[in-house]
């Protein structure tokens, strides 16, 4: 794997991620973009607010890229998360890989987002019309 692109940013530009992952040795690129959905449990979402423990979040994201690279023969990896206020339909996270074959692209890309959601210290507050909720905070 080449040096992965690991970033926490204010705004995600989805148009650049292919160029970042493009690679002559790769036959495939798989990208997942997480976006703000308009409803949670039938309740209209106004916005999401993301907060991170930035240094640790970057270090955990690097670990995930390294783990993925040890499980699958990857050429390039991008993990980029946004923080701050995000409106409905905005991108909040983008993860992607390029590799020789498509099966490993899909498996590795899914691993990146699944593991990010489990381990990276980033918190999401859902803002509804009359309340706010820290996602997953309570059982």
């Amino acid at each position: 794997m080449q040096k992965p692109i690991i970033e926490i940013v204010d705004k995600i530009d989805t148009a650049v991620v292919y160029d970042e992952l493009s690679d002559a040795a790769s036959g495939g690129i798989c990208v997942f973009v997480g976006t703000v959905r308009d409803f949670t449990n039938k309740e209209a979402v106004v916005s999401l607010e993301f907060e991170s423990y930035k240094t640790m979040a970057l270090s955990e994201m690097r670990k995930i890229a390294d783990q993925a690279s040890s499980k699958w023969p990857l050429n390039k990896v991008v993990i980029r998360h946004a923080v701050g206020l995000k409106k409905v339909q905005e991108a909040v996270v983008v993860v992607g890989v390029s590799a020789a074959h498509r099966t490993e692209c899909f498996e590795a890309c899914k691993f990146l987002i699944d593991t990010l959601k489990e381990t990276v210290p980033i918190w999401k507050k859902e803002v509804f019309k009359n309340k706010t909720v820290w996602v997953s905070a309570h059982p």
Partner: protein
């Protein structure tokens, strides 16, 4: 000894960091810190989970704490 607070832990304590330097009995381990936090802020014990990071790494309860460590309370993460 400063403890960083994030997400709902920041809301519960009303602070983005806690300075424990003035405490008579400073927590010597993650376990002692968790005990102190849960008894000082009982709402923390109602969360789905609560982890502690020491110097940017998830720490098990037996990890000792030094006064110059960067310590953080990690409520349930929800990125992505």
């Amino acid at each position: 000894m400063e403890v960083l607070l994030f997400g709902i832990a920041k809301d519960i304590t009303g602070k983005s960091s806690l300075d424990l330097s003035a405490l008579k009995e400073k927590p010597n381990s993650v376990s002692e810190l968790m005990h102190f936090m849960n008894s000082s802020y009982p709402e923390l014990s109602k969360l789905s989970s609560l982890a502690v990071a020491v110097n940017g790494e998830y720490a098990t309860i037996d990890v000792p704490l030094q006064s110059n460590d960067e310590i953080a309370i990690i409520p349930p993460v929800s990125g992505g």
